[in-house]
């Protein structure tokens, strides 16, 4: 009798696991940007990288018509290639928040000194945990949010000319 209960448990467990994997396949790419677009961003809070008393949360975004949240790090090579687009964007009608991902304060500041600082606010996420809430998988990643906190666009990987133009179109 004991063996048959064990059998049922094992069979149902295997069946359940395989079923979940099958459902996972149907999800069609776990990290698809499309699934996030249209969703509201969750509550968050980041402290300023050089000033622990300053912080930013989702409420602050409500004052901006559009906000681009950009996840970056000094050690990330593609972040360098996208930086010029961020600099150009900073001259447009958009607020840019930089989230410094798993980085050292010194290196991050050098990075911004060297390449220019396009950010209205630089938040720190030294262990990368807070970024996970945004569905960040690797960096660079950027999320475009409107004043209702809806995600309009998510960019995985460095921003290039096409995506730059797309952002400009969206915030017109």
């Amino acid at each position: 009798m004991r063996v048959s209960i064990l059998k049922i448990i094992i069979f149902s467990f295997v069946f359940f696991s395989l079923f979940v994997l099958w459902q996972g396949l149907k999800k069609n790419n776990n990290y698809d940007t499309k699934s996030l677009v249209g969703a509201r961003i969750s509550n968050f809070q980041f402290t300023e990288i050089n000033n622990v008393n300053k912080s930013i949360s989702e409420k602050d975004l409500k004052n901006n018509k559009f906000t681009l949240i950009n996840f970056f790090a000094s050690w990330c090579l593609p972040c360098r290639t996208e930086h010029k687009y961020l600099i150009n964007l900073s001259k447009k009608k958009i607020k840019i928040i930089g989230i410094n991902f798993k980085d050292k304060k010194k290196n991050a500041n050098n990075f911004l000194k060297e390449l220019g600082n396009p950010y209205n606010f630089v938040g720190k996420d030294s262990d990368g945990k807070a970024s996970v809430l945004f569905g960040v998988y690797g960096i660079p990643e950027s999320i475009l949010v409107d004043n209702n906190l809806n995600i309009i666009k998510k960019i995985i990987g460095p921003i290039d000319q096409n995506q730059y133009n797309e952002i400009l179109n969206l915030i017109k």
Partner: protein, 628 residues
């Protein structure tokens, strides 16, 4: 042309599998001890056609025959010959053909080399192996055919991803495949054993060679992959707990447990059903890993262009395999009684199994949990290195101790004398650790334990070598080498982790930076042209300020033309005591280059000790051969 030949060959493999199963089925009814000649012949034809089909595809790649979609998508005329050939298995379809090759190869070798074993057992094994072959050949033909043709024929191919154009990566997949797909033969043998009732010691003897062989190749494959990551990815790391690396670890844990339990089965004739479970589990985990990687359900550097239909096929096949295995297992399962002495060798070998089971569960949960959570509750999380490090590393300490002590205990019962020896060695390890701690740097309590445990295992193994030279028990040698290798591996990884230096800064040509006892002089820059890429090469002069030794390092930024990609090649100066690691990357719109400088102590020893682990297995294989 090649397309037709290839497809014809693959169909004949399929037909031969059906014929083999049919003939084996007929032969099962005849009560005698020899397998029919016709089955040998069918198998010989099958292996010949399989190898021919693979050569056909290689030929397509060598001649850049772009009438094959597969060649068009993954090759280019300007690629060096070596990478044209390696391109054959550098893509999903080609690697699946390699997979089929190994299935057939092991099927054939098992039939040939196991003639002393029970006929029924061999025939059942052959039948199951051919069912696996049929499953994968159908997958190949209808979903991932490397011989699909293209018309009109393009003049040029799309090229191979440059980060795959690396010698280590050219041999990495074949090694891993022999390791992972090789497991198929004892998956089949386990089912064959259950059905034929050919069990116990004899069964252990019949599969041991295959288990050790696939273990060796898996181990080597994982090491080569890790070496590749170190040289090519340019981060200076060698293990990232990336989902694909984890997928390769899953069967490795199972097979390591299997290899150890098999010794108990062979010597004491117990644990038969546990060995069967591990046999089944190892291949099931190999296929699960393949499913996770190829279906695109996980995102990783290794993901081939994902295709959901591919995932569904592997999943269906995996389900069939698991349910068939479970059903056969449960219908044949009988309760075994164990009579173990707590201080005997078997206990320690089983302890190894508990550790492997724990590591396996940890890695499996770390991999699957995000998928399950996403499916069941739409929450996306990522499980990264911190999880694995926290859960796995502390348990390495007792594992190291057991690896040292376990082999000292004899079969069934053991002596008291050993106790004092162990105490003495632990004391020695603590002293060596204190020495390192005091003179080279401080580290955490856990690191102290890791160092003590690994030194303890190393000292033990060294004493074992001394004993081996006196006694010459050949089979012990393989164990000593592998365990010593593991002890050294943990030790050197620990040292490397504790004492690595890393500096990140920007320089332009002609500038000098002083850091960590090194003076780094960015002397000049040149352009290098190669067959498939152009490169900007930086010439750096590194002076060690302590002893004024001068080193020249030339990192590169490569611009590959087909497909157009930028890669950063690290310059690595490998020495016996440490590696100097330098990467440079361009800083847009400025003359500055971002330089990452690392000094990584004992890197080469990490590779050497890892290779030693695999070497132990090869030593056992060669001795086995001599014995028989």
């Amino acid at each position: 042309m090649l397309s037709n030949i290839g497809i014809g060959l693959v169909y004949s493999i399929l037909a031969l599998s059906f014929l083999t199963i049919y003939n084996a089925h007929l032969d099962l009814k005849i009560i005698n001890t020899t397998v029919k000649k016709i089955i040998y012949k069918l198998s010989l034809f099958q292996i010949t056609f399989t190898i021919l089909s693979f050569f056909t595809l290689i030929l397509g790649f060598i001649n850049s025959d772009f009438s094959l979609v597969n060649v068009y998508e993954n090759s280019h005329t300007t690629k060096p010959l070596f990478y044209k050939i390696a391109g054959t298995w550098g893509n999903h379809e080609g690697s699946l053909l390699l997979w089929v090759n190994i299935l057939v190869l092991f099927s054939y070798l098992f039939l040939i080399f196991n003639h002393i074993h029970n006929k029924k057992f061999r025939l059942y094994t052959l039948i199951f192996q051919n069912i696996l072959i049929i499953g994968f050949v159908i997958f190949l033909l209808f979903n991932s055919n490397p011989f699909n043709s293209l018309y009109p024929i393009p003049l040029e191919g799309l090229g191979l991803n440059p980060i795959l154009q690396d010698p280590a990566l050219a041999i990495h997949p074949p090694l891993l495949y022999v390791g992972f797909v090789g497991c198929s033969i004892y998956f089949s043998a386990a089912l064959g054993s259950l059905l034929s009732g050919y069990n116990g010691k004899l069964f252990a003897k019949s599969i041991k060679v295959w288990v050790v062989t696939s273990w060796c190749f898996q181990t080597l494959g994982i090491i080569v992959g890790s070496i590749w990551a170190y040289y090519e990815l340019g981060w200076g790391g060698f293990w990232f707990w990336d989902p694909v690396e984890n997928a390769s670890l899953l069967p490795w844990f199972a097979i390591t447990a299997l290899m150890h339990s098999l010794i108990v089965l062979e010597k004491r004739n117990v644990l038969y059903y546990w060995v069967i479970i591990l046999c089944l589990l190892t291949f099931i985990l190999s296929v699960t890993g393949t499913f996770l990687v190829r279906s695109g359900i996980l995102n990783s550097v290794h993901t081939f262009a994902s295709d959901p239909s591919r995932g569904i096929y592997i999943l269906v096949f995996l389900s069939l395999m698991i349910f068939a295995a479970l059903t056969i297992f449960f219908t044949k399962y009988k309760k075994e009684t164990y009579d173990f002495n707590i201080k005997s060798k078997e206990t320690f070998i089983l302890a190894n199994n508990w550790f492997m089971a724990f590591f396996l569960a940890t890695v499996l949960i770390g991999m699957l949990y995000p998928i399950f959570l996403d499916v069941l509750s739409n929450i996306k999380i990522s499980v990264g290195p911190p999880f694995f490090n926290i859960v796995i590393i502390p348990l390495v300490v007792p594992l190291l101790f057991l690896m040292a002590i376990g082999p000292k205990f004899g079969w069934i019962k053991s002596q008291k004398k050993i106790f004092y020896k162990i105490l003495f060695l632990i004391l020695g390890s603590v002293i060596i650790n204190l020495f390192i701690f005091n003179f080279f740097g401080k580290y955490s309590f856990l690191s102290n334990l890791i160092f003590i445990a690994s030194i303890f295992l190393i000292l033990n193994s060294i004493l074992d070598i001394k004993k081996f030279i006196n006694n010459k028990i050949k089979l012990e040698l393989s164990r000593i080498i592998s365990h010593l290798g593991f002890g050294l591996l943990v030790f050197f990884i620990g040292i490397n982790h504790q004492f690595s230096l890393e500096e990140d800064f920007n320089l332009k040509v002609g500038e000098i930076k002083k850091t960590n006892n090194y003076e780094i002089n960015f002397e000049s820059m040149r352009i290098k042209e190669s067959k498939n890429y152009k490169a900007i090469v930086g010439n750096f002069k590194l002076t060690n300020l302590k002893n004024n030794l001068v080193e020249y390092l030339d990192p590169e930024i490569r611009i590959y033309s087909n497909p157009e990609t930028l890669t950063y090649e690290a310059a690595i100066e490998t020495k016996i005591t440490s590696d100097l690691y330098l990467t440079m990357s361009n800083v847009s719109r400025s003359d500055y280059y971002n330089i990452k400088f690392q000094k990584k102590p004992f890197m080469i020893w990490i590779w050497i000790s890892a290779i030693m682990i695999a070497l132990g297995g090869f030593v056992q294989l060669t001795f086995k051969k001599n014995e028989s």
